[in-house]
Point group: C2
Chain length 418, copies 2
């Protein structure tokens, strides 16, 4: 691992510098909009939607939200993780003595069962150096195949973090490879934050070009041009998913001093909302055992990300959502935007659509004009089988709908026949 104390300071200019280091290696992923989802976000939930929630019986919030989706599912290897991997590797290679000490032959190592594995494999292959990836034997076979596909040497381990770290140690002793951790390192944080810089540029450009499609409905351009309260035409806020917190803290750094509020989103299932709970308690939660379907967000937030999120207060608030809300958001993105996303990628959208605490903030702070809200669609690595499993339980819902439609249809048929 590169010495973290020698990393650039955790600031917005360092994120911008990271971007210039890595942009040749990554995709400048598109920012997309979707009218159906923007309309849905701007429609109050019904009282019945709130029935089984902590907001039961309360008046639903009436926020106005324009959604901007930063599509890192279309990034190389299908996830934002390449940003941090390329940045950390580039920085490691620039370390004095790395080349002379045979760093190019010794390679790099990490443990990951997820997108970081493929990201580091690709980064290492691009730079022509070997990568050793320690993956639990129980990892999804398609992820193992993909990681090998990028030329990495995959080494199996047990699935606990102790077992995985032991194997990593063995590889380091054996090969001299250097560790590139998945999130808990300043170089990784700065790399992930580059998506925030791109997103800010893109949304400003798209609004200026009239590509938001909202002028007519909201007299948006008019207001901004007419000296309204908006200081600039760009994002008001970003919601980013939070697992280890590398990407959330990087995004927060990318927004420091811009006036853009950054929020974090977590699953609440089996305590996966560790960052939210940590902020409430004023102390980082260091272990989590959850099997949330948002498998990229099962990790507790790391020490370096925590300094940005908690100590420096660069994340305004954390929100959590249920497994059902994640599935609903996933269905909407797949069926309406026709885009394949992994469950972890839509927790931010789920917050925007379903979390009344968040929606009230937008209502009160955004007012009539509302908010331009950026959502980080963090990845798209999900097999068609996994998708199928996720939605197979909804058969009952289909039948319920079928019964309902049958009835309406009959009425209409009678109307016409009469």
């Amino acid at each position: 691992m590169a010495d973290p104390t020698k990393s650039p300071p955790l600031t917005r200019p360092s994120v911008i510098a990271a971007h210039s280091l890595i942009k040749q290696y990554i995709h400048y992923t598109p920012v997309l909009t979707n009218q159906t989802l923007t309309d849905l976000a701007s429609t109050p939930q019904s009282p019945s939607d709130l029935e089984d929630t902590q907001w039961a019986g309360q008046t639903p919030a009436r926020p106005r939200i324009r959604l901007w989706f930063k599509c890192e599912n279309l990034q190389k290897v299908g996830a934002f993780k390449v940003r941090g991997a390329f940045h950390a590797l580039t920085r490691l290679m620039a370390e004095p003595g790395w080349e002379e000490d045979g760093g190019r032959h010794r390679g790099v190592v990490t443990h990951s069962s997820g997108n970081h594995a493929q990201a580091l494999a690709l980064a290492a292959r691009t730079m022509g150096i070997p990568a050793f990836i320690v993956m639990p034997s129980i990892s999804t076979p398609s992820k193992i195949v993909a990681t090998k596909g990028y030329g990495a040497k995959v080494i199996h381990s047990g699935s606990t973090s102790v077992e995985r770290e032991r194997v990593v140690e063995e590889v380091i002793i054996e090969t001299g490879a250097r560790l590139i951790p998945p999130y808990d390192h300043p170089d990784i944080i700065l790399g992930q934050g580059t998506l925030g810089i791109e997103m800010q540029e893109q949304v400003e450009r798209m609004i200026a070009a009239g590509e938001d499609g909202w002028q007519e409905k909201c007299s948006y351009a008019g207001k901004a041009g007419g000296g309204g309260k908006r200081k600039a035409k760009g994002l008001d806020a970003i919601i980013a998913p939070c697992g280890g917190g590398g990407m959330l803290s990087g995004t927060a750094l990318s927004c420091e001093g811009t006036g853009i509020a950054v929020f974090g989103a977590e699953p609440e299932f089996e305590g996966a909302d560790d960052c939210k709970r940590g902020l409430e308690a004023g102390k980082r939660v260091e272990t989590v055992r959850t099997l949330t379907i948002a498998d990229g967000l099962r990790t507790p937030v790391g020490a370096y990300p925590w300094t940005v999120i908690h100590d420096r207060k660069l994340v305004k608030a954390m929100f959590s959502v249920t497994e059902e809300q994640i599935k609903k958001a996933m269905r909407l993105v797949m069926e309406r935007m026709k885009m394949v996303v992994e469950p972890s990628a839509v927790v931010g959208l789920a917050v925007a659509l379903f979390n009344e605490d968040f929606r009230r903030i937008v209502e009160s702070e955004g007012g009539e004009e509302g908010w331009d809200l950026g959502l980080v669609i963090s990845g798209g690595n999900v097999s068609v089988e996994a998708m199928g499993k996720m939605f197979e339980v909804s058969q009952k819902e289909i039948e319920r709908q079928e019964a309902k439609v049958g009835q309406d249809g009959k009425e209409l048929a009678e109307n016409v026949a009469g």
Copy 2:
């Protein structure tokens, strides 16, 4: 139904005229490329891939193919069908006497359980006239809900074509609504063909802008610029799916006189390859009963499309693919391009990847330089439940892969430990 004999002639200029009539109502959908799929298309199949096919034991073709995806899954209502619906409706409304005879109040009617239902519903709502859609009671509930969502009156019928047409007749008698058929009408054909015009423009523009990403690998730009055999930088061929044949014949018209070869793709399951069989026999196959998963392609080719495809020979050849090949192509688009597509949308890709007859044509006609091949991704309307069902049988495949990976992993682990 507007009198088909008064439609514009079935020519490329008529398709261009149709485009100028409808372009304000539809999305100019993107053309996307994907390196992984392009590489796969340009890699010979392995002898084992061909084992259980009609090409068993033969040398696999070595075509060079650059793929260009016209993404009509991102079209309004999620499918190309809005093109024909808007064109047919616009033309009907321009018919002398339509307004005076109360056409605006009488509305339009069609029978469809698929994307044409939603397309006509949207077109009618946009024009502010009523739409009656006859749908079999057994239609997918989500499609019925969506059609109603566009403000149409849905009337249920039995599922045979006789039963459906009887209900349509009743609606016409009752309401005076005019029929807008799903594919067998010149106005529909010309409307669908507009996607071919856009695709030609887009690919030329993208190649000129260097967005094909192939210059380096193929010295493509160099060759073209250096007076090679290519006459223009654009598409060499298009493969379009064929159900009723409206879109295939429209696409063929859009390419008439351009030198771009047009091919059709069908499922072969239970005789769904009626157009291919018809061409072989020199006679249109008028009835088909198939339950191919490519549910948009279950219809036999219509009489008007047949005149373009067969009589005028504007479609160079038809190819068919198996259900398994359709599923493989669907998996590739979903997992690699991160795009949601319906099974009907990927039959063209399946031909490009798996049909050796087609691949040999590319090898022999495209030679070293290969072909720029356009694929019409015709729609993206598939529920997450349907996706799940489609891929649930592949569990065995997962286990097979799991076993294989376990073994490879062990070998690697031993390499590292040793």
